[in-house]
Each structure stands twice: as structure tokens, then as C-alpha cells.
Amino acid sequence: MEQLENFFHMGGYGFYVWLSYGITLIVLLLNYVMPRTREKKLVDRLNQISKMKGQGENES
């Protein structure tokens, strides 16, 4: 338990160390999540367009 406390304390530099690692984690995750969401939306839109086109052709 004390060991764990010491680990998070980082010799008094815990704030700086953990904030650095925290910011890095957030930025690296965002750089993965954001393009993946955009990609998913793009594919959905392409599917929708293709469906609408298909319906249009059937109706006419």
C-alpha cells in the first residue's frame, strides 16, 4: 500500500509526471478515435447513397 502511494507520489513530482502521461494518453487516444468515427460515418454515408440510388433505379 505504501509502495503504491510512493509510486503515485513520484518523489513529489506526481502532479507533473502524471499530468504529462495523462495528456499524452488523451491525445494519442483521440488521434485514434476521431478518424475511426469519421471513417465509420463515411462508410455509412456511402451505403446510404448507394441504397437510395438502388431504390431510385427500382422505382423508375
Binding site: 507533473y16 504529462s20 499524452t24 494519442l28 483521440l30 463515411l42
Partner: protein
């Protein structure tokens, strides 16, 4: 060789290749991040002067390296796009910008969080910090240019020229600590004489650097393949591969 290059310069083949490579890069990056973080916190000893705060090096230095490396990739891809007019290189250049800007931001932010306890200040206008800040502005300028110009070809060309002009900043960043008196210390790793970082501290740093590189490789491919699908959304192969999900 030439045939191989022209093959993968075709959007569809690049898309397929990117799809195949992304998981390999992504998972090896994840494994190396885990190994590197273990090394950073449990294997590496505390520094004799800076104590535990020194552990910020394991994200600060790889981020700073990547900020420059990604810029060179962006400028290189931009130049290739200017010369050979390949859509793939334009997509790669465009995909580098947000990643490079992120690495530059991380280098600056973690540097600031390291500088406060050690140097006694969040920020100083010395040559190293200022040139790294200019790099961030170059990335942001590139992104702004891309969103300002609607026509993809024109945007890619203008972006490539901006990126190439900005290349002069890269050696300035690297040598700033040697050319001028700066608060930032000199280079540790690329120094020619005796190594100035203990081997137990160096190994996790190299692992983290490799992890950052692989992460970048995976992320740039994810972005580039999306750019390509967007560019080619009316083509037959996009329709077949992505909408109709025909396996190849």
C-alpha cells in the same frame, strides 16, 4: 521495383495495403507501449539530479522526435505529390498534419510540465522552445490551408509548398541547442562522444521511441485510407470493396 511503386501508388492498391498493414503496426505499437511504460516506471532508475521527474523524458523525447520526423514525411509526401501528381502521396501528406501537430503539442506540453519543477519556469523564449513552437504553427498553417481550399488538388499543391518551405525549421530545431546559448540542454542521444544517458534509462527510451513510430505508422494509414475513400467515393472499386463488400 518501379512497377511495384506504381502499383501501390494506385489508390485501390494503397487502400488494400493500408488495410492489411494497419493492425500489424497498431498491435505492435500497443505491445511496445506496454513494454516501454513498464521500463519507464519500473526498470529505469530515478535520475541523480532530477529524481522521479526525469520519467517525463519517456514521452517528451519521443514526441519531440516524432514532431520532426512526421514533418519530414509530410514534406516528402508533398514533394512526391508535386512531382508525380499521385493521389496517394497527397493523402499521406494530408494525414500527417494532425498527427504531427499532436506530437508537437505533446512535446511542448510535456516539456512545459518538466520545465516547471526543474528549470523553475513553464516557458522561456529560447531558441529550442521557440523553434518547436514555430513547428506547431507550421502544422496548424498547413491544416488551415487544407480546410481553406476546396479543390483537393490545389489544396494539396499549396500545402506541399508550405511544408517544403517550412523544412528549414527542422535543422534549426535540432541544432538550436548547439548554435545558441539556450536554457534547454544539449542533445543527449545524438551526441557523438561518450553516451550521456545510462543504459538502463536508454533502453526504455528507445522502446518508447519505436512504439511512437509504429503508432504513427498505424494512425497515418488509417487516416490516409479514409482520405482515399473520400477522394474516390464515386469510383467503381470503392463501390465494390466498401459498399458491396466484395472480397478481393
Amino acid at each position: 521495383m518501379w512497377k511495384w511503386i506504381t502499383k501501390y501508388a494506385s489508390p485501390m492498391h494503397f487502400y488494400l495495403l493500408a488495410n492489411r498493414l494497419t493492425p500489424w503496426f497498431g498491435w505492435s505499437a500497443a505491445v511496445l507501449f506496454a513494454v516501454g511504460l513498464y521500463g519507464a516506471f519500473f526498470y529505469a532508475p530515478a535520475d541523480y539530479q532530477q529524481g522521479e521527474s526525469f520519467r517525463i523524458i519517456y514521452i517528451h523525447v519521443p514526441s519531440a522526435w516524432m514532431s520532426m520526423f512526421v514533418y519530414m514525411v509530410m514534406a516528402g509526401a508533398g514533394a512526391a505529390g508535386l512531382i508525380w501528381k499521385t493521389k496517394v502521396s497527397d493523402a499521406v501528406a494530408r494525414s500527417c498534419a494532425p498527427l504531427g501537430a499532436s506530437f508537437t503539442f505533446l512535446a511542448l506540453a510535456t516539456g512545459s510540465l518538466w520545465g516547471k519543477p526543474m528549470w523553475g519556469t513553464w516557458w522561456v523564449w529560447d531558441a529550442r522552445l521557440t523553434s518547436e513552437l514555430i513547428l506547431l504553427f507550421l502544422y496548424l498553417g498547413y491544416i488551415a490551408l487544407q480546410s481553406a481550399i476546396d479543390d483537393r488538388r490545389t489544396a494539396a499543391r499549396a500545402g506541399a509548398i508550405l511544408a517544403l518551405v517550412g523544412v528549414v525549421n527542422i535543422p534549426i530545431i535540432h541544432y538550436s541547442v548547439i548554435w545558441w546559448n539556450t536554457l534547454h540542454q544539449g542533445p543527449t542521444i545524438s551526441k557523438l562522444d561518450s553516451p550521456s544517458i545510462h543504459i538502463d534509462m536508454l533502453i526504455p527510451l528507445l522502446v518508447m521511441a519505436l512504439a511512437f513510430n509504429l503508432y504513427f505508422a498505424a494512425m497515418v494509414l488509417i487516416r490516409a485510407r479514409m482520405e482515399i475513400v473520400e477522394q474516390e467515393k464515386n469510383s467503381k472499386w470503392v463501390q465494390e470493396l466498401i459498399v458491396d463488400k466484395v472480397s478481393v
